[in-house]
Symmetry: C2
Subunit: 384 residues, 2 copies
């Protein structure tokens, strides 16, 4: 679809089921039904999938990585080619991260200072700088619909002092990001703040409160799913959402497994992204309504049943025996089909979650799925 310039970014809460929220984000490039899962299209491609296939799984929005795209092919180049949507053939909304997380995890020789981060490109070794203003400039050059402030993803574990200093730096960067966004963004584009503070409740509260007073179009919770554990993650979500505005979207970054997603929805989260469905697909793992399957497992060699009889995904109709054969032979069709089936599963999970919220049955739905996913899976079974 064309970008509808009359449509502003807005969020409508449509239903509640306890803390659980059902909503819809309006953007100039179409609506995002929440709870929403965003497939990750790191380098302007959701790995091993065509854009129209991603769309057909039910995805309303995808995520792209600012760090990867600023290094290759470059934000100015993408702008010259008409922006990221045209470049990659995705006409729905795109959320971009700020690049901060990947600078920390992928680049070498990074130096974090008040003005920003200096780092070496992992592609060609060039020395580059990412500041709050540059992170926004890059996202505007890409034409991103939902942009993220530059933050420091606090390493885990961190002492309280480390977490506090890091969170406060992120707040100062958030203000500078917002200033740059005011100057550079187009009508209808949105900017999200990111709460930090490790697992310290008072720091999380302070971060959320300060972001709220700066004012953003939505709020992300960063620095989780980094080893703190399921319960600490949920506790941190709780203290943060308690402070965040009720009427704006809440995005839990980098999460996660089906169980994590459902638990976080139960705690009031609206948006997610994770590489798990595509990465698992490349590693022979399939998310199905019967639980997690490892297609390398010899038990599938003569199994004529479809990958997932409960899924509506065309890729899930291929037999387990065929998928086993493909992954054993290293045929690229294996990752193609498994990535597709997994992204579809995640979208079905969100669609069914939304239906169950409307019907007032989210808790039972989440319990059922969580039970399926905590049953013994064949991931630890005999491999061949």
């Amino acid at each position: 679809m064309q970008r509808d310039v009359r449509q502003n970014f807005s969020f409508t809460l449509k239903a509640h089921d306890g803390q659980v929220r059902l909503g819809e984000i309006a953007t100039p490039r179409g609506a995002i039904r929440t709870p929403a899962f965003m497939p990750v299209g790191t380098a302007a491609t959701v790995k091993a999938m065509l854009p129209q296939t991603v769309r057909a799984t039910g995805a309303d929005v995808i995520l792209a990585n600012t760090y990867h795209l600023m290094l290759r092919p470059g934000a100015e180049r993408i702008a010259k080619l008409g922006g990221l949507h045209r470049f990659m053939g995705w006409d729905g909304p795109i959320l971009t991260d700020s690049g901060g997380y990947q600078v920390m995890s992928l680049s070498k020789l990074r130096r974090i200072e008040e003005h920003g981060v200096t780092f070496q490109s992992h592609v060609d070794g060039a020395t580059l700088e990412l500041t709050p203003a540059r992170a926004i400039q890059v996202q505007c050059l890409l034409g991103s619909d939902i942009q993220m402030v530059l933050d420091e993803c606090t390493p885990f574990p961190a002492t309280r002092d480390q977490a506090k200093a890091s969170m406060e730096l992120s707040l100062r960067w958030a203000e500078r990001s917002k200033q740059a966004f005011r100057e550079l963004s187009a009508p209808g584009q949105a900017l999200f703040g990111i709460a930090q503070g490790s697992i310290y409740p008072d720091l999380r509260e302070a971060s959320a409160a300060a972001l709220k007073s700066i004012g953003f179009d939505g709020y992300a919770i960063g620095g989780l799913a980094v080893g703190e554990g399921h319960q600490a993650m949920l506790d941190t979500v709780d203290v943060t959402t308690a402070v965040l505005p009720e009427d704006q979207p809440r995005y839990l970054m980098g999460v996660g497994t089906p169980e994590d997603l459902l638990a976080a929805i139960a705690h009031g989260i609206d948006m997610f992204d994770c590489v798990m469905p595509t990465r698992s697909g490349r590693h022979c793992q399939a998310f199905s309504w019967g639980g997690l399957l490892n297609l390398r497992n010899a038990r599938y060699a003569e199994d004529p049943s479809p990958l997932d009889a409960e899924s509506a995904c065309p890729a899930a109709r291929y037999s387990r025996a065929y998928l086993h054969h493909l992954v054993k032979c290293g045929e690229v069709l294996g990752p193609m089909l498994l990535s597709w089936a997994n992204v579809h599963f995640y979208q079905e999970l969100m669609a069914k979650a939304r239906e169950s919220i409307l019907a007032g049955g989210f808790a039972a739905f989440a319990e059922d799925v969580t039970r399926r996913y905590s049953a013994p899976s064949d991931l630890d079974g005999d491999k061949t």
Copy 2:
């Protein structure tokens, strides 16, 4: 489609344009319009493509490799799973080779004797035997629609004595293959003989005449495109087709480039297979109506034009800049799109060849394409 058991294998010549032939092969799994190009689905997958995508390029028939499938997942296993068509999700006709060529090129420790070939699997080192009867048995277990006799693909160059001995062994194997096929095949399945004889005209004539007197449903010309050169290939095609029956299909195995295909059609060939479109796709090369492109070439980094504006393939609508980006990043979507575009190009080439034959303009069409493909390509240009 379901297999139509009332439909026998048959070939109808529909038009001539000089030596050039237009025809149609009827099979229980649908028609094959000739001249036909068969995409290669070695291990029960046309690499990096979905079966329905292969079909949508215009392919009526695909080729699968007996050698690969007998090693992995095994012919008996595929039979147990309902046959190759069901296994891989392709409901059109499938031609299988006999496995002979790959035994020679891929396996270790092969011993060629009168009764057959003993070899070591390149997958797990197991010692296996391929005889004329076993080659047919495997193809029947796969459920192949068009089967090939076991032959020895004579190495090039070969002395006349070597070529004669090899050709005569292949003839004795062809008789035994036919005997096995009589015993094992299902109604509507077809068996093709394979002419050998290196580049010696009298040996090629003798081979073709002997095969004709055994009697097959179609005739392949093997042992070409192995280094003998374009003119020697065409001369050998000529001496062979002069002996072969006019009213049966002729298949030039393992050929080739667009120029080779058009030249061979001009010399009376009806069927082709080659890994070139898919293999080139994995190596960043694109067959287009403007000639061969190397998408790694830096000149495409900011080229917003589509891969091939003259192609009707959805993959050819992606910009050269985007495809360049994908291959530079090693993203699997690059090979996916380029394989798709290349297989589509080969099918468009055959479709336009068929149209031009009907219109009496094949020579002009072939000359035009050959000119485009002999123009300086960017394959030797600056790489980045």
